[in-house]
Symmetry: C2
Subunit: 223 residues, 2 copies
């Protein structure tokens, strides 16, 4: 196979990236849950036309990151605790499975990668930047999910985590949550490094349950 010579000096602004911009805006909490997104406003803000914007919105709708009510347009859904719970439960199912598999098959190289991401989270945890904490933690999971040998597991997981990013940002701000999160993640890492499937599953389960509890607290506090 010849090498990929598709260098493409000036990559004509593929505004497929519009979706990414919007997604990022939602992640970082730029839009309040429940708030409506006005098409014309977004068009001018993003510098694209309405048809293009609407395409992007449809993608986000399918990802459940926004809702589109007929004749009312798109809005950021306010996640109920009921749904959030359901997401955490499925997340547990997926992460536990992934961690278990990962422990049995991860390569030394990827293991180093995982360790590096843990360090990145450690650094973020000692800061007060909760966005950085959420991002680095997400990296950590991503590596596990990417190495579990099942691409669908990873794909589904990413979709679910995206939907609770709002909660995660808040619960990370809880007193001491980042530090205990770090301890739990280290436990997961150690288990995987040791190739201990059972332990990896157990540590992973514990971590998700704690994260869920933290989310519940931060929600009840209305932080």
């Amino acid at each position: 196979m010849p090498p990929d010579l598709n260098l493409r000096i000036s990559p004509r602004t593929v505004q497929r990236e519009t979706v990414d911009k919007l997604r990022l805006a939602i992640f970082s909490g730029l839009f309040q849950p429940g708030s409506r997104l006005i098409e014309s406003q977004l068009c001018t803000q993003l510098g694209i036309s309405r048809p293009s914007l609407r395409e992007a919105l449809r993608s986000l709708e399918a990802e459940r990151l926004i809702e589109i009510v007929p004749n009312r347009g798109p809005s950021v859904p306010a996640l109920s605790w009921e749904v959030a719970t359901a997401i955490y439960e499925v997340r547990e199912l997926l992460e536990v499975e992934a961690a278990g598999r990962c422990a049995l098959r991860i390569s030394p190289e990827q293991l180093r990668e995982l360790e590096k991401s843990l360090s990145a989270f450690e650094e973020a945890a000692s800061s007060n930047d909760s966005l950085a904490q959420v991002m680095t933690a997400a990296d950590f999971y991503s590596i596990i999910l990417a190495n579990c040998g099942n691409p669908i597991l990873e794909e589904v997981h990413r979709g679910l985590v995206a939907r609770i990013s709002f909660f995660r940002g808040r619960s990370m701000s809880l007193e001491g949550r980042a530090q205990s999160s770090l301890a739990e993640m280290r436990e997961i890492f150690e288990s995987i490094a040791a190739g201990d499937e059972k332990a990896a599953r157990k540590a992973s389960k514990h971590h998700v349950l704690r994260a869920k509890a933290a989310a519940k607290i931060s929600m009840d506090n209305g932080i």
Copy 2:
């Protein structure tokens, strides 16, 4: 609150249904995997404009039912066996969990519903209509997933099953597959009816594994 009088004699063709039409077309195998979907053709076939069609296509892309390659347009992806395997594995994870939960909490009414859908599959199984078989089987799962108490589990499951509908239609055509499928599903039903969580999980797992094996056979045979 006044009663809803929004009777709407002539329901202005909400072409949100366009997505459903296209989805159904893909399910029923109207488009060959790998074949390209030409926008202008679809527009005339569906009787809608290009912007509207493109919105619908974006939705389907996000659901992974079609792929959109820049400057090449949409096409039905040819599912590799690798990805199909991954989907079956996650499906197992979800269905087993759902069946187990369902056994513990299903209401008598819903149980009757489940029994009815099993009868529907039984009837389809004795016919040669593999599309009806796939559809009625999907109903059966839907009821289980809808009663497991976790809406996300249901949602994710639906998305995955949609992606392998192609395989399912084929493997149902295998000699005797419909009948053994029926036996497996009956086993699941009995376990749930008995409120036996363990048995429900076991039966569910067995069913998915058999379905996966059947899919593999039908793929290797290139049916």
